[in-house]
């Protein structure tokens, strides 16, 4: 038995709590040097059709902690660049005896397609502008560590929400676990229809992060300017940059987050990025532990299974 991690949208609150608890437990064990389970018969294929360093490293690290083999593929130089369809690539990997697939692809829904043709777990490492579930799990674990809860928190996601898979996965996860999600940004970067997205819309940074417990900045893709979504980076920074000053509107111990890579001086100023409230580095580290949890969960193993792995 196995299951897929295609998106947070499809996962129940109960499973999300389990995943986060597993992530915390893996972290505890790794930090204390306690024994970790080993899943030796597994070979994870890391399929990155889109460039990524941190996500790929993080999935690879997590797999190695669990004693799994990994095989890496990138879009360039692969059969995909020779015109092979995604379906055929997946079928090939299946017969190369890979047991788990981690995939990043530029098209939304590509993880769903892969899951149709791959018998083992498919973990979505980012599909277009749709979802990036492991990122959201790492972010949630980071918030949990600092705040002790998600329920009742106000989380403001600032930036290009419309084109962000990080925003979507975080919004689903946080709202499912009882947080209030706000989308903050210019009208051109927020979805024009949010009836099926769990967040309220704010165009002003000040009102959008008012009393917020967490401010989550999104990376500004500078090529968006070409689409006419922005007049200039300067204008964006003046209106939406999270700074020590703008954080005055948020709650006093507000966490500052960013999925990286950072554009310093655009999304955040140095004070906000490096201040006491910044948990950007924790996000990266926790990313590894929730990915261990994701592998474990996807192979249909539980917290009880993990607890049986003793010294």
């Amino acid at each position: 038995m196995s299951r897929n991690l295609l998106g947070i949208r499809h996962i129940s609150a109960e499973d999300l709590r389990e995943l986060l608890a597993l992530g915390a437990e893996f972290k505890r064990r790794v930090l204390r040097g306690e024994p970790l389970p080993r899943i030796p018969q597994q070979t994870v294929g890391l399929l990155f059709f889109e460039d990524s360093t941190r996500t790929r490293v993080s999935f690879e690290q997590a797999a190695k902690y669990l004693g799994m083999n990994t095989v890496s593929f990138t879009g360039r130089g692969s059969s995909m660049s020779k015109g092979e369809s995604l379906k055929d690539t997946i079928l090939t990997l299946r017969h190369e005896r890979l047991t788990t697939v981690v995939m990043r692809h530029r098209m939304a829904g590509s993880a769903q397609l892969a899951a149709r043709y791959f018998p083992g777990p498919v973990l979505n490492a980012g599909d277009g502008e749709h979802e990036h579930p492991a990122q959201a799990l790492g972010d949630a674990l980071t918030i949990l560590e600092r705040k002790g809860r998600l329920h009742g928190l106000i989380v403001s996601i600032v930036g290009d929400v419309e084109h962000s898979r990080v925003a979507r996965s975080n919004a689903w996860l946080l709202s499912k676990l009882g947080a209030e999600v706000r989308f903050v940004g210019p009208k051109t970067m927020l979805p024009s229809h949010t009836a099926m997205l769990p967040g309220s819309v704010h165009y002003s940074l000040e009102t959008g992060i008012h009393n917020a417990d967490v401010v989550m900045c999104l990376r500004l893709q500078k090529e968006r300017m070409l689409d006419g979504l922005l007049s200039s980076v300067g204008e964006y920074a003046r209106m939406y940059q999270v700074t020590r000053q703008s954080l005055e509107y948020a709650s006093p111990d507000c966490l500052v987050m960013h999925p990286g890579p950072l554009n310093r001086g655009i999304e955040l100023d140095d004070d906000a990025a490096d201040g006491d409230c910044s948990v950007i580095n924790d996000q990266v580290e926790n990313g590894i532990f929730v990915r261990m949890a994701a592998y474990w969960w996807a192979l249909d193993k539980t917290m009880d299974d993990l607890k049986r792995v003793a010294a």
Partner: protein, 442 residues
């Protein structure tokens, strides 16, 4: 040789006829109709009790794909699919390779359609409005018309340049050639793969705003009004587009329009989890649009129903949503879907149903057909419809090469069961042998 269709409900919108009676076909020509025809020497008798006898259906929007994309469809398979769907005439779009912008290609298509291997329905080609459908230079439309095109269109590559479109309309007015327009502002729709709305926002798919369609409907209607060019808007999908057409008609512009079956019964929510079978252009919209569309079908603002038959090979469709092509193979589902979702729900009467699928399309492009009048067509074009036959649409059982359909698995009520297209007769298993009596020739 005489063939008698007995005791069916004869529906002829061209004469507002709705009566129970018989239809006599003699030497592949429609000879007579009436109640209790007294005919001797009948070779074959089709018992049409509880069935409709209607003028053969006419499709204004079919992609036959040949030449150039024979892996998706050929003229042979496409015309077989048409006959199975109740169509006796399909107007094929110029989306071939090379584009249908030269008279020799028109000859090629007409020859292929007339060859014995071809599958039944007549083919009426639609020429490219501009060379290569590039929206720059007008095709040699006079020569194309002489070769046999019935309309001009750039379909999926709609002319963006309004000056080019105005010139095209002026020229087509002179040639008395209708223009069929798929209306889309390509700058607004760029990168989009479904309706811009809550579902696209949720799925992280780029949206196609309704304004992308409406702006072009309005532009084209205004150009038609000012040039007097006969304009047929194909595939309206938003309430706004419908209202633009309504307004244009009110102002006296020579405008007509059609709708595709998926746009009166499916919405953006049917896209579900990135199901590429539901990726169409224009995209599936919302319930609000459906409500207005249904009214507009009922009040006649929407003149015709077109199949938008857009076959693709399976491997072209089994890809991530954003990479999938737009379109469904519609010839064999259009009638069943129309009967199920409009006629049986009381939105269209049987006579109005046939008008939208046969008589009105014939009128729009001034084609022969769409009528039971004696001598109107060189050969009989008649379809027998079992309006109550219950069946499940299954792409595994279709004639088209394109198995891409949003209607796969849908339960339908009503089906074309016999299609007479001159000497070509398609008879479905739903019209059993027991209903056909054949007298041995003496």
């Amino acid at each position: 040789m005489r063939t008698l269709l007995k005791n069916g409900r004869i529906l002829d919108p061209s004469q507002n006829i709705d009566m129970v009676g018989d239809v006599l076909i003699e030497d592949h020509q429609l000879e007579a109709y009436g109640s209790n025809l007294d005919v001797a020497d009948v070779h074959e008798t089709y018992d049409c009790t509880d069935m409709w006898i209607v003028p053969g259906l006419i499709d204004l929007h079919t992609h036959l794909r040949q030449p150039g994309f024979d892996h998706r469809e050929t003229i042979s398979t496409g015309t077989q699919a048409a006959a199975a769907g109740g169509y006796t005439v399909v107007c094929c779009m110029p989306t071939t390779q090379p584009t249908l912008d030269s008279p020799s290609l028109v000859d090629y298509i007409l020859d292929a359609a007339a060859s014995p291997s071809s599958g039944g329905a007549f083919v009426q080609p639609i020429g490219a409005l501009t060379v290569g459908m590039k929206g720059e230079q007008l095709s040699d439309l006079a020569a194309l018309k002489r070769a046999g095109i019935v309309a001009a269109s750039d379909v999926g590559s709609p002319t963006q340049n309004s000056r080019v479109m105005k010139r095209a309309m002026e020229y087509c007015t002179q040639l008395d050639l209708p223009i069929i327009a798929h209306c889309e502002d390509l700058e607004l729709s760029q990168g989009g793969s479904m309706n811009e709305g809550p579902v696209s926002a949720m799925l992280g798919l780029r949206g196609i705003p309704r304004s992308a369609e409406e702006i072009m409907v309005m532009r084209n209607c205004l150009l038609s009004l000012h040039t007097g060019c006969k304009l047929h808007v194909t595939g309206v999908s938003t309430w706004g587009a419908v209202e633009m057409v309504r307004q244009a008609k009110y102002l006296g512009a020579p405008v007509s329009c059609d709708i595709f079956p998926h746009h009166f019964c499916l919405t953006e929510e049917d896209v579900g989890e990135f199901d590429t079978r539901f990726k169409v252009s224009p995209p599936l919209r919302t319930q609000v649009d459906l409500d207005i569309i249904v009214q507009a079908l009922n009040d006649g603002t929407i003149d015709c129903i077109a199949s938008n038959h857009s076959p693709y090979a399976s491997h072209e469709v089994d890809v991530p949503f954003g990479e999938a092509p737009f379109g469904i193979s519609g010839l064999e589902s259009a009638l069943g879907v129309t009967l199920t979702h409009l006629t049986h729900k009381g939105i269209l009467s049987p006579l109005e149903t046939v008008r939208k699928l046969s008589t009105a399309p014939a009128t729009v492009l001034r084609l022969e057909g769409g009528t039971m009048r004696h001598g109107e067509t060189p050969v009989a074009q008649i379809t027998v419809v079992d309006p109550n036959h219950r069946w499940r649409f299954d792409v595994g059982r279709t004639f088209t090469k394109g198995k891409n359909s949003a209607f796969h698995g849908m339960d339908l009520q009503g089906k074309a069961v016999v299609t007479f297209c001159g000497a070509e007769i398609y008879r479905d298993a739903a019209f059993p042998d027991s209903r056909v009596a054949t007298r041995a020739r003496s």
